[in-house]
Each structure stands twice: as C-alpha cells, then as structure tokens.
Symmetry: C4
Subunit: 274 residues, 4 copies
C-alpha cells in the first residue's frame, strides 16, 4: 500500500504495527490480536453451554466486555490511521471488525427481560470475529487461485448435481411417499443430498425395494460424482505446481525454454543462461 508513505510520526508507527507484520512490534501485535480473537470466540461458545453459564456466567460477561473493549480500541485505531476511511469501513474486514463489537453494545440499549433471547442471538454474531483469522493467512492465495481458475467448471458441476438431486428427490417422493417419512418433495430433495454426498444420517431412509434400488443408484452416482471436484482441484494444483518449477526464460543460444529454476546452463545446447 503506497498510501502508507503519506503518513508521518505516530500515525505511521501505528499503521506499521496494525496493518503490517514485517516489524517486531507488528508481529507481536498480530500474535496478541490472533490470541484475543480465538479466546473471545471460545467465550461465546462456552456461554452457550447451560452448565458453564450458570457457574461462570459473571466471569464470561466480564471477559466478554474486556475483549469488546480491546476490539473497539483496535477498530478506532484502524479508522484513525487509514487515509481512505470510507474504503476501509465498507471493505470486507472493515465490516467484520465492526460486526465483531456491535452486538455487545446493542445488548445495552435493547435490554429487557423479554428481549433477552434476541440479544443473546445478536451477541452470537460476534462469531464473525474469527473471520479476522483470514487476515493472517495471506498465503492462502494459491488455494484461492486454484479454486478461481476452475470457477466455471464448479458452476457446471453444481448445476448438474442440483438437477440430479431434484429429479431423484421427486422420484423417491413418488416411490416412498409420506407413509415412509418422505412427507414432501423439498424434504425428499434434502434426503437425496444427504445420500448423494454420502453423509447418510439415517433419520429418513427408503423402506421399499424400489426405493432402496433408487437409493443404491444415487449412492453409486455420488461415489463417481465426488471424483469431479477432486479432479478439478487436483488438475489446477498440478498446473500451479508445474508453473512454479519452470522459468519462462528462453536460452539465448538455442532459444529453447522450459528450464528448471535452478538451471545455470541450457540443458539442450550447453550455452549459459543469464
């Protein structure tokens, strides 16, 4: 970010600590923030367990406010040092940063016996705090790239799967019917997804021979269909891997390319490569 060079003094210092991680302070800040996020998420999780809430409720509320305070200061600091404030506020992480503190404050204004439940669910939104983790994984690019390159193939695949589960869901509904638990087509489609993805809860299962035959066909198809996303991702990853291993440099003597990254001399004519 070149905008950084328009900052001076304390602002520049804070910018480097908060947004970058190539200084010692920056790295320390990242580790502390990361730990805080994980801890605050754990607190939200624990608060939902009845037993723990009864015994440790006050502690959890206190810690909750402590982390909300920290994240609020962090959010304001980010807002202060960033030059293009609007861009930050409406960026993905800007919104996530805001959503990770807002529910706790909203709980004050909308307090009251009857609305307690709603507030609790609002507070749960703080779970989005963990999205912040992604910020620290900048190198997930390769994975993202592989997924992006095969975007179109994935859409074709998903459309085919959706069509298949709608048709199979309707067929099983006609075969088994409400008598055997398939009370509606949407529920039957849900069953078809549960079956084709090989999850298989077993809360709904075909009981007639014809239904079980259809289920067998769906399962074996699902078995084959699972190969498609795997094939897509594998081929993209292998292509990425190959690209990494080869320079695009041409030998100045014989004009051939395809040299390894560590090659000093052309492997075809023996001429020196730059």
């Amino acid at each position: 970010m070149e905008e950084k060079y328009r900052l001076t003094g304390l602002k520049l210092k804070i910018y480097e600590i908060i947004f970058e991680s190539d200084t010692r302070e920056g790295r320390l800040f990242d580790i502390l923030l990361l730990s805080s996020i994980v801890l605050s998420v754990v607190i939200v999780l624990l608060e939902s367990v009845q037993d723990i809430k009864l015994n440790w409720g006050n502690w959890l509320v206190g810690l909750e406010w402590f982390f909300t305070g920290i994240f609020t200061i962090e959010y304001l600091a980010r807002l202060w040092v960033v030059l293009n404030k609007r861009k930050y506020i409406f960026s993905f992480f800007g919104l996530v940063d805001l959503l990770s503190v807002l529910p706790t404050y909203l709980a004050i204004f909308f307090a009251g016996a009857q609305s307690l439940l709603v507030i609790r669910s609002l507070r749960l939104l703080r779970i989005f705090r963990i999205f912040k983790l992604a910020r620290f994984i900048g190198e997930s690019q390769n994975l993202t790239l592989a997924l992006k390159a095969s975007r179109f193939k994935i859409i074709v695949f998903l459309t085919t799967v959706m069509t298949a589960v709608i048709i199979f869901g309707t067929l099983i509904y006609l075969i088994e019917g409400p008598k055997h638990g398939f009370t509606s087509i949407p529920l039957s489609i849900y069953w078809a997804i549960v079956t084709m993805t090989t999850v298989g809860y077993g809360d709904i299962a075909p009981q007639t021979t014809l239904g079980q035959t259809l289920a067998s066909i769906i399962m074996i198809m699902g078995y084959g269909i699972i190969a498609v996303p795997t094939g897509i991702v594998s081929s993209e990853m292998i292509a990425l891997k190959r690209r990494e291993r080869l320079t695009t440099q041409v030998c100045p003597h014989c004009l051939k390319e395809g040299h390894d990254i560590d090659a000093v001399y052309c492997k075809y004519c023996g001429g020196e490569i730059n």
Copy 2:
C-alpha cells in the same frame, strides 16, 4: 445450423430469438425462460408441502397454469419455426419440452375425486422441465469429454464394485441373517452398497463380531475404491489441461496443429515453425 438460412422474415427472427443467444433479444429470451423454468419447478416443489398447499393452493394452481401456458406457446413456436419438425419432436429436448406441459393438460381429462392422487403424480413429471437448464450450459463439454474418455475404465470399475457388493452382501446375509435385520440377500446387497459408498444410514447395521469385522473390511475397501474414479477423472482432466498447453499454431508447411510449446520444427513434416 445451416438450416437457419432457409428461413425468412418473422420465422427467421423468432428462430434467432428462441434457438440462438448471440443477439440481444435472444439473450433476454434465454434469461426469461431460465427464470420461468426455475420458478415453475419451485412451484411443483411447494405444492407437495401439505401446509403450503392448504394455505396457498389456489395461487399455486394459478401460477401452474400460467407457466404451462407460457411453455405451451414456447413449444408451439419452436415447432413452427423449425424446418425439420419430426427431428425436433423426437430429439431429447423436444420430448422434454412436451413432457413439461402435458401432465397439466392430462389432469383435466382424467379429473375425478378418486384419481386425484394419480394426477398429482403425473404433474410431478413436470420436474423434467429443469432438464431444459442443460440447454444453457453448452460449455459442460470439457467435463463430458473427460467422462467419455474414461468410459471403459468406469465400466470395469462399476462391474468390480457390483461384483464386490453382491459377494459381500451374500456373506453378511449368511453371517448376520434375518434375526439382525438382514432379511434377504437383495437387502443385504443394499446394505453393502450403503456401507461401501460410506453413506452409512444405520437403519441396518451388523451386530455380531464377525459381521462387524466384515463391515470393517468393506469400509476400508470402500475407502480405497473411492480412489479409483477420482484417479480416472483426475488423470483425464490433467490430460485435457496439458492439451491446452499445446500451441494452437499451425505449421506453415503441412498445416497441421498440436505442436508443443517448445517445438522448433514441425513434428509431422520437419519444416521450421515460426
């Protein structure tokens, strides 16, 4: 389609709108039709939910007739502009187009209190409307190609899997027997498929130690067997990807393509490539 050039005036105009998507009107038509198909499928799904049918039944019937009207007009228009009418009628999409409107009309003639259920199931056939979606996904070719190229391997694989589940099904029937829910060999084969594909409903499960040992073997085999279709599809996709890396350059001497990116001379005629 060269037959298009034998059309004139309005027919040509309609042909371009309905069958092609490279004009603005054609694209608009495609989007509208696609939306109508999805909506009409959603209506069929909702009609099968008891609660929704009771409260919104009339609306759903009305919308049902509205979409049937639209698809009927569309079908007749297709029939009108196409030159080789018989070919269209008996093509896959010609039949699907017809089947997606027919059930609604059949419901009139076969009306009557006692046959209501049958009619409802006939109407469900309109689900085939969604097959139309495939028309808009012309670029699924690559996936189809990969699957086609490995057609034979897939047959060998399926035969092996079928043989395995028949033998394992018989063995588990002998071991567990009707006492533990394995009431017949076909049902036991169904269980073997449920297990080998890692679906695992749990409605039937082995209860003796020997049966559980056999089940464990089937599961671990299924674990390995799932690798085969994945390997087949992956290797085909990687091969397709490699083909992309070839230049599309034509040899100026013999006019053949398919040269490697690092080729200096044409591998067919020996002439120098640019």
Copy 3:
C-alpha cells in the same frame, strides 16, 4: 495360447468357441454365457426373499437346475478340449467354474429336514459364478497395473490406518466406556473404523464432550487420510497415461527422446525419425 494348434477338428472348433472371442460363434457364446451367469445370480438373490420364495419357489428351483445343467455341460466341455487338464482344474477360473455348479448337486446327497439350512447356505456359494464375469473384462489390466505399482505404498497406508484406529478405539473406550455403548475395545475399534472411513452408522456414538472432541479429530483426520489412496492411484494413472503418449524412440540425429507417438520428425533438430 499356442497349445491351441495341437487341437484338430471338433475339439479345435469348440476350443475357439469357448476360449476365444474373435470368431462370430465365440462372441455369441460369450454373450449367452454372460447372460446366463447374470440370470442365475439374480435367481439366487430372489430365492432369499421370503415372499418371492413362497409364490415362485418351484419356478426358481426349476430355473436353478436349468442353469446348473448348462454350467455343468460348459464345465465338462472346457475340461474336454483343454490339453493341460490339471492346469485348468486348479486355475482360479477352473475352481470357480466347479464351485458354481457343485452346491446344487451337494444339496441332493445331504438332503434332509435338519440340514436344509446348511444346504441353502452351500447353494449361496454359487454366487461365485459372477466371478466369471471377470473373464470377459480382460482390459482391466491398466487398473490392476496401477494398483500393483503402488502395492507397497498401500501397505504402509493400511498399517498406519490400522495403528490409528486401534489407538483411537482404545482412547474412546477409556473416555466413553461401556456405559455409552462402547462395551469393549474391539467394538470401539469398529466404531473408529466406521468414523474414520466417514461411514457413520450412528448405532454407537460418543455422548461426552471429550468423546465428541476425539470423534471430531478422527473425522477430520479421516478427511485428510482419504486423500492418500486417491493421491496414490491418481499419480499412478497419470504416469500410465504419460507413458502411453510418448515413444521411447531416440532421434537418430540429435539423440533426443520424448517424442509424441504421432511424430514423424524430431521436434528439436528437425531430423527425420524412423
């Protein structure tokens, strides 16, 4: 098989029909035999269904004897024309051919009210008839080759998986104990296999928080472990595919190899390849 040329007249004729499939009669014989095998297996399956047996019992017994007769004649014919009889009898398919007719005959001699059950199970061995199908799929070699090449990796993989499920099974037994259905370590190991292979029947499931945490770890590990056999098979298949596409021929001019199968001229120096 060169031994064929030591046969004459009728024997040669029958040999060609039964053992080969490059004549018209040979192909017809294969198709008829294949159909008979499938039909006779279906009969065994149907006989195990209580309802069908009661209503069609006599028909099934009749058909059973009809197919047994056909397979007996076929077995004797094979025995008659083959020169090295001992080799055929003790070959895999020789034994399968015998086992696919024997149980029906044994049922006569060991008849009696009390032994009915044993006989029925003996007859089920005729299921091995379907192994005959493999004879017609000679081209499954590629798949077999890929599996063979990675034999050692598969053993390492299976040992690791077995070690993991034994340890995880013992841990879950200690955590959940007989109270929650984990009545013994072998049963707990069975549960670990059911979980790690993502089958998940749900007949036994952890109920304590610690047990569910361990189960989560096993599932996510299983998720990753499933990648290993897939990777093994994929890499073998890709290697096979690559080998198919390249000649091992060396260019006589520049001595380079790696030429495509359809190459006429060397892609490096332009010299003519054989």
Copy 4:
C-alpha cells in the same frame, strides 16, 4: 550408525541382531518381535471383552506376563548394547519401549479392590506397543515427505474448515436450538464436523426446513472441500513421481545431480554429461 564399530564381541553381535536387519538372525528377530507385538496387542483387546475375560481370564493374564517379560528383556538388552544410553531412553521409541512394559508392573504396586479400574486403564497404555510397528516400516518416507511438503497448505485448509464449522455450528444452533437437540454451540459445531466430513451419525439432525437447507449447503460444501486435501496430496505425489524420472547420474564436471533424463549438458556447469 557408525557408533556400532566401537562395539565388540557379544555386544556387537546383539547390536546387529536387535538394531539391524541385514543379517539372518536380525531378520528372524524382527519377525519374532513383530509377531509378539501383534499378539500382545490382540490380548489387550480381548481382555476388554466381558465374555472372553470371564472364561479365559487366567490365560490372558498369563500371556500378558509372558509378553511383558519378553519386552522387558528386550528393553534391557537394547539399553545394554547402546552406547549413548540417554539418547536411546529419551528417543521416541525408547519411551514407547518403556511404556509398553511399565503398566503391567505398576498394576502390582497399586493393587487393591478400589483401584482396579485405574490399573486396567493403565494397562491399556500398552497399546502403544504397536507404535513399534512403525520401526519396521522405514520406507514410509515418501508418504511422509509428500505430507511435509504440503504442510502449509494443510494448515490453511484446516483453518478454513475450522472457521467454517464454527460459523455453521453457530448458525444451526440459532436455527434449530436446544428444542431439536442442538443444546449448545460446541455440540452444534460437533454436528457441523460430523456433517461436513460426510460421516453423518444421525444422532443429532436438523428438523426445521431452514435447518435442513443449511445442512444441505454444508454437505455440498463438504463435498467440494474434500477435494482440497486430495488435490494437495495428489499434486505432491505426482511431483515425487516426476522426481523419480530424473536420472541419478552425477555430472562428471561439477558432481551435481538432479538432471532430466533428456539432458545432454549439465544444467549447472554446462559440461557435457555422458
């Protein structure tokens, strides 16, 4: 291990038998030890089955002591011949060797009616004996290497999966709630893992339409996510396989390896390779 050459006489002999497997005695020792480990693990497993313990308890205890004796002698022998004793004791296998005999001895000192249960669980630790198996599989290196090379990608992948299951778990908790069995967020996260890994026990399953819709999305995502570890491992294995295709030939000029099979000149120093 060069330290071996500082041993003489009996110690050298025993060292060669216990630690190496290139002599006939060494190989025999390995096979005997391997069998003993497997048998002793089987005994631990059988002891946990109530019926077997009642009928064969004494035999199992006897065999248990027999194997403990053997492993104790083996441990002491290892300790005696090894030069750097401290290094052995605190090595992974040194600790495993100790842990595989200790629990049986501890059972004597801490005997008593009330502590029986604790002792039994201590004895179960002997299961770690099977870790010894790993010693005999030195060639698992290739698999380990492939996993190591993709260490970082696996961490990114696991973080993404963890984030996804936490968010999906919270959402399903809000949608279904304690009424339908989702009594806390941690339990709901457990359910999300069970669903995303396609295990699907079915002990907890969504019952509202919204919950089932969310479950469907998780399943289809899980379907795609499973492709990522597979892609990672596949691409690593293919890279390993390609490396195998390199010659192991050393350049006669600069003594470096890693040349392509089709290389004519050394890619490091430009010197001609044989």
